[in-house]
Subunit: 154 residues, 2 copies
DNA sequence: GAAACTAGTCACGATGCTTGACTATCAAGG
DNA sequence: CCTTGATAGTCAAGCATCGTGACTAGTTTC
């Protein structure tokens, strides 16, 4: 992501922010009894619910390939965060179900992110932070939409 | 980066935005005669000037390790974007100097990013976009500062 | 001039994404 | 039924990126 040094470009800024957020999240998770979850595991853990979710749905929601989801689930199974259960409605499919340990990680991850957001809210002020959050969501949506509109043209 | 689906967390949002920006930048660069630059090359190209910059300075500015900068420069040399020239002031050091081709890439990358920002500015409105940009910069800075303050404690 | 430091490189390993192919199962039409 | 095509999940190989430790050559400090 290229930029001049007079004012860092959007790509640099968002990249740095993402790395900083990720670092804090996973360092804190490690301190709270989850030292072995890594960033990529979020693609699975973040979208689970108690009934279980199929791997293909996870792939669709995160935009990642089925294979990656598969290996992530393998790791999470061996770490004791999730189980694979047969899907009663489709014998090809399996439901990814969080274990107790997995549910604990999910709750803690959400709490940590909420804490980070609260700290940023205090720093920026409630109004500015709310505006920032809304704008970020809008910008992301527009940028993704613009990208997809070009895909068709190609 | 974990999240619930009710409202995407900051990590997810920034990650998606970064990917979308990166995709547009490098697709457009490819169409404009630079099909072989990749995102990581930005760490070097974005911070060059005509006189040349030392690898260690690039590492410090981008937060990446010297070794990574070294391999990126290797690639950019073989692609014809930069040259290594001896630093007259320090015989250990070399200055990374952009070639004509490199200067062209730098100019085009900046133009593309400016175009993206202008489009977002039209979408959000001038005031909201300015506020967003400022808040993003502040949030990133605070988040990074917080991280570093914890490093000392460890 | 000797010791401590700095610039850049080499080598290795960990992590993460992409791609293609394959088996088992489901779904739709004849 | 049963054939044809799509879908769920897995196996496997390859590429890209980043992190860490060690090393050489040159510089700075005392």
């Amino acid at each position: 992501m290229d930029t001049a040094q007079h004012h860092p470009d959007l790509g640099m800024l968002t990249g740095q922010l993402m790395r900083a957020l990720q670092n804090e999240l996973f360092e804190t998770l490690a301190e709270q009894g989850h030292p072995d979850v890594r960033p990529r595991h979020g693609s699975v853990l973040a979208f689970l619910d108690a009934e279980g979710v199929r791997a293909t749905d996870l792939a669709a929601r995160t935009g990642q390939h089925k294979q990656i989801i598969g290996t992530i689930v393998d790791e999470l199974v061996s770490l004791g965060y999730v189980r694979r259960e047969p899907d009663p409605a489709d014998r090809r499919a399996k439901r990814i179900v969080p274990t107790e340990h997995g549910l604990d990680e999910i709750a803690k991850a959400r709490a940590i992110l909420a804490t980070i957001e609260q700290r940023l809210e205090r720093t920026l002020g409630e109004q500015r932070f709310a505006a920032f959050r809304e704008a970020l969501q809008e910008v992301t949506g527009h940028q993704q939409a613009w990208r997809e509109s070009r895909q068709v043209v190609d």
